[in-house]
Symmetry: C2
Subunit: 453 residues, 2 copies
């Protein structure tokens, strides 16, 4: 298996490093807890699927500054007044903290901490940028994939989006997240290699065009890939191409239609294929698909066995960002943790380390979630956050992407259908415990009076 | 300088490799030309800024299959009927072709080829996926950045979006593209190192919250970063924080407001700072900004000297994809190039290798573009595509990001303002030459009659 991509410790925002320098220089010797959560759901979403933890843990385990990184930072005038001791510290820097997280593949909701980092302040701070971009991106894509897969009602969905992803590496990560969300596989071969997930491919229009005759391109391809061949039929004239396949006596595993009226073309193609005895040849569709288009195609009677979904899936096109934040919730300078919170009006956050308690009904269906202090206990509710890293080392081997996909599939069945609707899903009930609410009220009172003095 | 990230040759769609196998096995010995272009502009856009070529050329120069890549492919059952010779070929595979491209930083429009690859068919085909995701992503972000920078009317714009980018690597590439589009710098330190672009940082709310007293956090930070300190004032109460700064006798280079009514808060902050003699302290704003919000803030009299723009910029949130495609335009099996085109109704493309001719008025302002065959010539029009790689090697050293930014700035001034408006810009005139039109018509006739036979 290939190594995970090494990411430089410099892959962070500069302010993480200036703050680190300030903590170091002021001998701010404290442990801190930060929680990563999503502020709110994008339009039309009723749930999210947690994803991206694996890349986060890989990063934390391997995080260090190379000599060249440190030399680069020393040259930055912003650090002109920072002592050499700080850069010596960076040379030894490792992540030694503790991580609690909700397992990948779990349905989650806004304001629920997906990851909690507890570590010496500098360590907990400098990892912010990487953690946010890893967790929010994959969570966004896994959530989108779950919607697309639901719309396909049991038909295969394959992720095809690398070419429109936000750079090549985003394509690899999107493929992983899409499989977590329920896709059968991806077209991205590196994702197949790195994450041991199935890869799929068809033909491009260029292949059909390269051979002077469409029929020749079909015949050559089918001979080389007899069990896996997918013939692309819309380069010139879709139905004429179907007829050519039939008349040539080819029996492809599948044909792909990438343009045109997919309802009409798939129905007529099915008819012609069946009439010719090619009942085993499946019809695969692609071309600007998303969950809404797929639901509409199937409602209008399209005869499609599988979908290739690219752009809309790999970029979560209708909602291409999640409002992920990473907030300080307590600081411990030696005499126990002291809660912290940001109180500015429209972006206030709850203080203190939290746990998410999921309450189910007797059949195991989700009923509601309660966000409470980690020290609280709620009889019979399932605690979603578990400790996954201590002293900077993982506590156990990570699940495979296949296992994570299976978790997501099984857990989603426990989420009532009203929260899974494609359009205007019901809001899943999530509340904060009374103890957290009174902590927030207390902090508000304390800091507002300080602020106004 | 750090090495560019190595990207595996497997970072491609599986069908590129199955088609490669088919070309190899059928001894399809031809050269092919592919052109990469954007089909149409996203909403509200009047132009694009070409970007991403540098990463494309790095990739092409270093492209090769590792033994482990080949072993991985051999295990894939899709290749069961492919000969061992193909895998031996992959072990020797290098990109040996020619690349023509429009320089990064050039304003471009839909349907204009940004990159043309001419190479042995397999080489030209397998690079498709990587090229599309590199060029379309950076072009999209550079174009968005140009809009945000225009809205700021000369005030500094800094890219802050890595935490919401589509994974960490997307953040690095977004930073590069944002600087090309006119941003003064980025918060992303790795981008600073890799591309030699300026980095900026401020403070996080967590820093202010970590110290028990807001004032203490300001004092400590200001002492360590006297010339570069940016104090974040909205953690508890923005105006109270301004008063604390004034009363403490601090003279920060800048303060940052991240929430609240930015018009009101910036005006009142300016007033209080000026009254206290802190006329040199700049006001920096952030928090869900984009070109429309910035234009509105300034129109309503906000007193802001610089903007940190994150999510909306690093994801091009309002238009998070570009319709980039990579199309076969000719094939040469030894007796000269033969034009090719995809003719399916709504996605037809023009055949033959093209050149983009830019026509300017006597003052040098852009008047219109003509897409023609590369063999055509138009007196006085500027040819945008130049040869940048031959035999798989770059013909000259790449420009710096700073030089590319300067090109974009200067070129945009030549684009009439009507095409640069933030809302409903006029469509820039781009047409296809008569020769290309008749080529397309001829192919349509030929292939439709073949298809219908």
């Amino acid at each position: 298996m290939p190594q995970p991509l090494h990411h430089s410790a410099l892959l962070t925002d500069l302010y993480e490093l200036t703050m680190a320098a300030a903590y170091f220089e002021t001998k701010f010797d404290a442990n801190a807890s930060f929680e990563l959560f999503i502020r709110s759901l994008p339009p039309q979403r009723g749930f999210l699927i947690a994803a991206g933890l694996e890349q986060t843990l890989e990063y934390l385990e391997s995080l260090h500054f190379e000599d060249s990184d440190i030399a680069f930072l020393r040259r930055n005038p912003v650090f002109a007044h920072i002592s050499s001791d700080f850069f010596d510290y960076l040379a030894e820097f490792r992540f030694t903290g503790e991580v609690w997280a909700i397992p990948e593949g779990t349905p989650v909701f806004p304001e629920e901490p997906l990851v909690r980092v507890a570590a010496p302040m500098i360590e907990a701070q400098v990892v912010e940028t990487f953690l946010l971009s890893s967790i929010t991106f994959q969570t966004m894509i896994a959530s989108k994939a779950a919607r697309v897969v639901a719309a396909a009602q049991g038909r295969a969905v394959v992720e095809f989006g690398t070419r429109r992803a936000h750079g090549p590496e985003a394509g690899v990560l999107a493929a992983r997240a899409a499989v977590i969300g329920g896709c059968q596989g991806t077209s991205n071969v590196e994702a197949g290699q790195r994450f041991d997930i199935p890869t799929f491919g068809t033909q491009a229009h260029s292949f059909v065009m390269a051979y002077g005759e469409e029929e020749e391109s079909f015949r050559e391809f089918q001979q080389l890939f007899p069990e896996h061949g997918v013939l692309l039929v819309d380069t010139y004239d879709t139905l004429a191409a179907i007829d050519k396949i039939i008349h040539s006596g080819l029996r492809p595993r599948s044909i792909r239609i990438d343009s045109g009226d997919l309802v009409e073309l798939s129905r007529e193609s099915r008819l012609r294929l069946d009439r010719a005895g090619l009942t085993g040849t499946q019809i695969f569709a692609s071309g600007d698909l998303d969950e809404f288009v797929i639901a509409d195609l199937l409602a209008r009677g399209a005869q499609i066995d599988g979908f290739g979904v690219g752009t809309a899936l790999a970029t979560s096109k209708d909602a291409p960002t999640l409002s992920g934040v990473y907030k300080l919730v307590d600081v411990d300078t030696g005499d126990g943790p002291s809660c912290r919170a940001k109180l500015s009006d429209e972006k206030a956050t709850y203080p203190c380390r939290k746990q998410v308690f999921r309450v189910t009904d007797p059949d195991g269906n989700y009923r509601e979630d309660l966000i409470a202090r980690e020290t609280e206990d709620y009889f019979n509710a399932h605690q979603l956050l578990t400790c996954v890293m201590r002293g900077g080392r993982r506590l156990k081997a990570s699940p495979s992407v296949h296992q994570i996909q299976e978790r997501a599939r099984a857990e989603l069945l426990r989420l009532p259908e009203a929260h899974r609707r494609l359009h205007n899903p019901d809001k899943y009930p999530v509340s904060f415990s009374r103890e957290l609410q009174s902590q927030l009220a207390e902090m508000r009172q304390r800091f507002t009076s300080v602020g106004r003095q």
